[in-house]
Amino acid sequence: MSALKASRPGRLNLATVGTQVLLWGYAAVVLGPLLLVVSNALRPTREIFKNPIGLPTSPSFASFVKAWEKANFHVYFFNSLGITVAAVVLATAVSALAGYILGRYRFQGSAFLSAYFLAGLMLPFRLAIVPLFLLLNDLGLVDSRLGLILVYAATGIPFSVFILSSFFRQLPQELSEAARIDGAGEFTIFGRIMLPLVRPALATVVVFQFVPLWNDFFFPLVLLRSTDKWTLPVGMTRFFGEFQTDWSTLFAGLIITTLPLIIIFLLATKQIIAGLTAGIGK
């Protein structure tokens, strides 16, 4: 390698420079709009219209306050948070139980059940909205946050069961056998010994349910009607109509909606990259 480098310094340098230009250039394409959003949220709309690209002269959080209070973001935000957290907790809990049994034991029908849970990964679930709407209507769960939580939890199960069962499967047998000899029951082995050992997988599963649910627009659009139950994405559609000339507030709204995800990303970059590439080698 190093010999090659030494023999053709000119060409390699050119390639290195080109690579750096491409890498930084695309980084600018990604970060430019994001930085612009932050900068413009801190400037008054008047200034943005005069010059859409610029740094705030006297940064002000007034737009954030306006979006939060006047544009109802405090309502949407806590709806999103409550619904997403509840759904993730519910789906992770039931998936851990199912994943444990499917990962650790073989019994009649276990292969079928694994395949059954797996099938949900491939199915375009939104297409089931008509029967789902009628079902929730019969249960009195249309325009209900609980209804949305149940639907969301169901959508998280296939991925969670898949990931968790494959992690449970990899744990050594000796652990549970020793516990069983000591007289521990199945639930004790699961909760006390096995569950703590799959914590990394739990983190991946939690992050990977949180992001799409927080961002989902389709189900609340169809299933929630009262504005006081709306989540951020649905609230956003009304917000962009009402505040169309108030760009500073629009930018602030985009940031409020995205901030929790940025925080998650910074805390769990590793889990995110691991989950995105689940199934492809390292």
């Binding site: 939104r126 169901a154 494959s166």
Partner: protein, 325 residues
């Protein structure tokens, strides 16, 4: 992401079978215990996901009056989709737009993903840094990305046109989302901006799986980096190319939020950005009194198409891989 897991499950399954054969294998607990562990997930998943999916097929054969299901009408709903105005005109147009969306994404987003995976493969400073930045927009809601880019592309106050003017390219400045010729390409680019990091990560993982000895051998044989990429790395990446293609296909044919944010519920201007997801939503929730029957029929067609083509692609890529071995 989850689908990539599904697509590679065969490999995993084989691995586990092997492990099982070696291991002692605990005796399964009693059926009561098994049921206690399995039932919560099974019920939630079945009642709110699998059962409604199955019902879609059944409902498509019935007449609906509002929320009430009426009599059996056979394939009437399916016929209506292709004969009743305006859905009969919107459907083929939206389908075509989804096809453009898919082709455009494959050519732009996934090619860039491969390029950057390759550029970042050679160990160099900042690999993790660039990967993190490139993946960042993936987190943002499709709807937010759409609104963000509709502000960026605004004809009066949008930064994009301003940049073009500053660069002396005023002739290029235009109402990107107001012009039927540029609206859909703009959405495809905004979508690629959001998702490029994902194929990049998949290709990176694929490249990391290729043994260093293979590369070394090729280098000793005097292969240039281009030949190395084209003759060795790309063929070995074929499984990942297959996964990326299938995921792109499924994602693009389900596009909804980003198009809603940039083109509205009707795919403005004048339907130039209308896609199947929007047609489906309008048919179900902005349609006439028999909307639910029609929407169920459309759901069945889209389901069969998306699932059928994905399965076809999986099989096609698998055969292609075998032929290269």
């Amino acid at each position: 992401m989850s689908v990539s897991a599904w697509l590679t499950k065969r490999k995993g399954a084989r691995l586990h079978r092997h492990k099982r054969a070696r291991g002692v294998g605990n005796a399964a607990p009693s059926w009561g215990i098994i049921a206690l562990f399995l039932l919560p997930a099974f019920l939630l998943y079945t009642v709110f996901m699998m059962w409604p999916l199955a019902q879609s097929f059944y409902f498509s054969l019935f007449e609906f009056k509002g929320l009430a299901r009426g009599g059996f009408v056979g394939l009437h709903n399916f016929r209506e989709l292709f004969t009743r105005y305006p859905v009969n005109e919107q459907l083929p147009r939206a389908f075509l737009h989804n096809v453009y969306f898919f082709i455009g994404t494959m050519l732009i987003q996934n090619t860039l993903g491969l390029l950057f995976a390759k550029l970042l493969y050679t160990p160099r400073w900042g690999k993790r840094f660039f990967q993190t930045i490139y993946t960042l927009p993936y987190l943002i809601s499709a709807l937010v990305v759409g609104y963000l880019w509709s502000l960026m592309l605004n004809p009066l106050f949008g930064p994009i046109n301003r940049v073009l003017k500053m660069a002396g390219l005023s002739a290029l400045a235009r109402p990107w989302l107001g012009d039927p010729a540029t609206a859909l390409p703009a959405i495809i680019l905004a979508n690629a901006w959001q998702w490029m990091g994902f194929p990049m990560l998949l290709f990176s993982a694929g490249l990391a799986n290729i043994g260093e000895d293979l590369r070394e051998a090729a280098r000793i044989d005097g292969a240039t980096s281009w030949r190395l990429f084209w003759n060795i790395e790309l063929p070995l990446l074929l499984p990942v190319v297959g996964i990326v293609t299938v995921l792109t296909f499924i994602g693009n044919f389900n596009a909804f939020g980003i198009v809603w944010a940039m083109g509205g519920v009707n795919g403005e201007p004048g339907g130039a950005t209308d896609v199947l997801g929007l047609v489906f939503y309008r048919t179900a929730f902005r349609g006439g009194v028999d909307a639910f029957g029609l929407a169920s029929a459309l759901a069945v067609l889209m389901f069969i198409f998306i699932f059928g083509v994905s399965m076809f692609m999986v099989g096609r890529f698998r055969r292609w891989e075998e032929s290269l071995k």
